[in-house]
């Protein structure tokens, strides 16, 4: 069988999905979707490499002892790094994920090949324009390009092209959902990963509209056609793009967690209603996060700051805490069902840690939760932001959300995307098994260095801290952590790129056969698999212990920061 055939009322047969059947999963793969998943994923990895080389240069410059780049190139490379990592690598990868989530799980074909080409062409052209103009030295304005800083018009035009191209890709996703429903390619509700991807796509639309609202008048201003937009207005709307796009990443990352948990351990969502409600909470409340960047800004009152930074009483944070429970709990239940029942954490120690798909996703979950989540809520507390704004604590936070979390989960996903979609078995499998650990450890070290240096007042995006004469040996040590962690993470990133590219060229084809197993969790011989239910307290006690530890860490960090705030000068 190579296509989905539907018998119409008059007896004629209609081919719905001109795809292939995956020999590993038995699911159908739309060939058009597969082609664009490949194109977008390959572009994503190219931009990841550009951003990664930039990252290494920055880490070696902020490491004050090495201080590699000069000031001009440092700021240029910060701009390049931010855009390639935070925007290009992630957006291309997300379009690939969206195309997968609306086709294979729904047994559908992609809505339109032409639309996919237009989207891809615009995104690629825009991204290349931006990188070119940055390297030409015409856009040393950081990723945020805060007015009245002004870049070459092509910089803004490139970003607009990327944003609109992505919007068109998102349209293709929604149109595919529509035709799948219309043609009844599936029955009942959409699978959870598709639901999560839909939430990501909805947030992406809102996000990219903010991008258009802020970038179009900035572009026309840079051309000299319109007056300069107000810089505070720019900050407010820009962060509707900047922070919300990170929430698209959170949604996509959580969907990847659910996907990899299922693929590597056979986990099933404990309670679909809970998981889906949590995604809906993201859609409803996450758009308030723009406020996190404006907490010590002039012209915005305390009421607005408090309400918005709380995401309406932290309901979006609640959503992350729910996923943080349901994902490991589903793994725990799946492992216990297979007979790994020893103690609180026997299920965890017996998990397939040698499978990079599993280790990558689980490390991503832990790093995102304990690192990114706790720091994010704390730094985004209205008053605590006074002792954090624009210090290295901020990049310290987002390197454990968007890098240790999102990027690591996308890397883990690649260990399945390449065998299943590119139909190539990985080369250097032992190195691949180490890659998530290498990258994860490097990023955690980098982020710890940044966070502590930031607590000592070291500013972000600053070429040199010695002129100020106020930073002591401890701050310099922490910047050394940034340097060494940066090197380790870069080696992990380079290994990832080499593995992917090497596999595309030299990997053994998996056409017509199942992919070589990375080692998924299986019941030991002679153990009968039983089914455990959600209300069974012994089935999830390990995860419950984990989340209680999490909550304790959260409370300690949170109140320690209030104490630190109480020690500075009174200010109103």
């Amino acid at each position: 069988m190579s296509a989905i055939v539907q018998t119409l009322v008059d007896g004629t047969k209609k081919i719905l999905n001109p795809g292939r059947v995956c020999a590993t999963t038995g699911l159908s793969v739309c060939r058009t979707a597969q082609q664009f998943i490949k194109l977008n994923a390959v572009s994503a990895v190219v931009f990841l490499l550009i951003g990664g080389v930039a990252a290494l240069l920055l880490a070696l410059t902020r490491w004050q002892t090495v201080h590699l780049l000069n000031a001009e190139w440092f700021y240029r490379i910060v701009t390049l790094h931010g855009l390639n990592m935070l925007i290009f690598w992630i957006l291309f990868m997300e379009v690939a994920i969206l195309y997968f989530c609306c086709t294979t799980p729904l047994n559908s074909k992609l809505f339109s090949k032409k639309v996919a080409w237009v989207s891809f062409g615009m995104m690629l052209t825009g991204a290349l324009m931006v990188d070119y103009i940055i390297l030409q030295g015409q856009a040393d304005v950081m990723m945020t390009s805060y007015l009245p800083l002004l870049a070459h018009p092509l910089f803004y035009l490139g970003i607009i092209l990327v944003a609109v191209g992505t919007l068109i890709g998102v349209f293709n996703f929604f149109a595919t959902l529509y035709i799948a429903k219309r043609d009844k390619t599936y029955e009942g509700s959409v699978p959870l990963v598709t639901f999560g991807a839909t939430a990501a796509a909805i947030i992406a639309v809102v996000t990219l509209l903010h991008g258009a609202i802020v970038m179009i008048p900035t572009f026309t201003y840079s051309m000299g056609w319109t007056p300069q937009p107000d810089p505070m207005w720019y900050r407010l709307i820009w962060w509707g793009l900047g922070h919300q796009s990170q929430q698209v990443n959170v949604c996509a990352m959580v969907s990847v967690w659910y996907f990899l948990a299922s693929v590597t351990t056979g986990a099933r969502p404990l309670n679909e209603a809970v998981c889906r409600t949590a995604f809906v909470l993201y859609v409803l409340f996450i758009n308030l996060a723009s406020a996190h960047h404006l907490l010590v800004d002039p012209g915005i009152g305390a009421t607005w700051k408090i309400w918005n930074t709380s995401y309406a009483m932290y309901l979006a944070v609640l959503a992350s805490m729910i996923h943080g429970f349901t994902v490991p709990a589903s793994v725990e239940v799946a492992m216990r069902e297979k007979g790994y029942v020893r103690g609180l954490f026997g299920w965890l120690t017996s998990a397939p840690w040698g499978n990079p798909g599993f280790s990558g996703f689980f490390l991503s979950l832990v790093i995102f939760g304990f690192g990114g989540g706790i720091t994010g809520v704390t730094l985004g507390t209205q008053q605590i932001n006074i002792i954090a704004h624009n210090t290295l604590r901020i990049p310290g936070h987002f390197h454990v959300t968007v890098v240790g979390g999102t990027t690591l989960s996308f890397m883990a996903l690649a260990f399945y995307v390449i065998p299943l979609i590119f139909e190539k078995d990985f080369i250097w499998r032992k190195a691949a098994r180490l890659q998530p650990y290498l990258f994860g450890i490097g990023i955690v070290m980098l982020a710890v260095g940044m966070s502590f240096a930031g607590s000592m007042g070291v500013p972000r995006r600053s070429w040199d801290i010695d002129v100020a004469g106020v930073y002591g040996p401890a701050a310099h040590l922490m910047l050394g952590f940034v340097g060494v962690g940066g090197i380790i993470a870069f080696v992990g990133l380079l290994l990832f790129v080499l593995l992917c590219v090497g596999t595309l060229f030299f990997g053994k084809s998996t056409k017509g056969r199942a992919m070589t197993d990375w080692g998924v969790a299986k019941a030991p011989a002679g153990v009968a698999v039983t089914r455990l239910e959600e209300h069974d307290l012994s089935a999830t006690k390990g995860t419950f212990a984990m989340v209680l530890i999490f909550l304790a860490c959260f409370a300690v960090y949170y109140f320690a920061n209030w104490k630190a705030l109480a020690d500075v000068w009174p200010v109103r």
């Binding site: 305390a302 932001n385 002792i387 100020a468 106020v470 009174p570 200010v571």
Partner: protein, 175 residues
């Protein structure tokens, strides 16, 4: 049933077991987080209210000049040292790449410190206290500030403002 397959019919049901307990705990924690900010707004001493007034950058620079002329008490490396009246207004102008003037304040007194920029956005980062506020052109950002420790404090710019950004250092003296 897996996360990539269509869920079984009847999937919409209430949470149970540890999941239900955790949702309750997490929601309670969210309420604690929510209450802390309004609590600190009324009872805490460090708040960012964002008090600000529209101002033309050159007009703000003129105010700073008048403030310096009226209250200057000395000079350090060509930068005026200015002592405002306790309880009064103080002005600091940020520009590429300097802070002007150096303020001389008294410990325990409260001042209304006006911050604004002549050109780009800047970041007012008071070290080693690590208190940070945004400085915007066109906005007179007023901090009602009470120094509670004496010594020499350094203002570091922590918003990127061009090639000389890391050299943009200012000072506040508290006696």
């Amino acid at each position: 049933m897996s996360s990539i397959l269509v869920p079984e019919r009847g999937w919409f049901r209430a949470p149970a077991g540890h999941e239900k307990i955790w949702i309750g705990l997490a929601l309670s924690w969210c309420l604690v987080l929510t209450v802390m900010m309004p609590y600190w707004h009324f009872r805490g001493k460090q708040n960012s209210r964002g008090e600000a007034y529209a101002v033309v950058p050159t007009e703000f620079a003129a105010r700073v000049d008048r403030f310096i002329a009226a209250n200057k008490v000395g000079e350090s490396n060509g930068v005026p040292i200015v002592e405002p009246a306790p309880g009064g207004d103080a002005f600091v102008l940020a520009r590429m790449w300097s802070w002007n003037p150096i303020l001389k304040l008294r410990k325990g007194e409260t001042y209304r410190v006006h911050l604004s920029s002549l050109d780009l956005q800047h970041g007012f980062s008071l070290q080693p206290l690590n208190m940070n506020f945004q400085v915007m052109p066109g906005y007179d950002h007023v901090l009602t500030l009470t120094p509670t420790s004496a010594g020499s404090f350094t203002i570091v710019c922590n918003e990127f403002c061009g090639i000389g950004h890391s050299n943009m250092i200012g000072h506040i003296i508290v006696e």
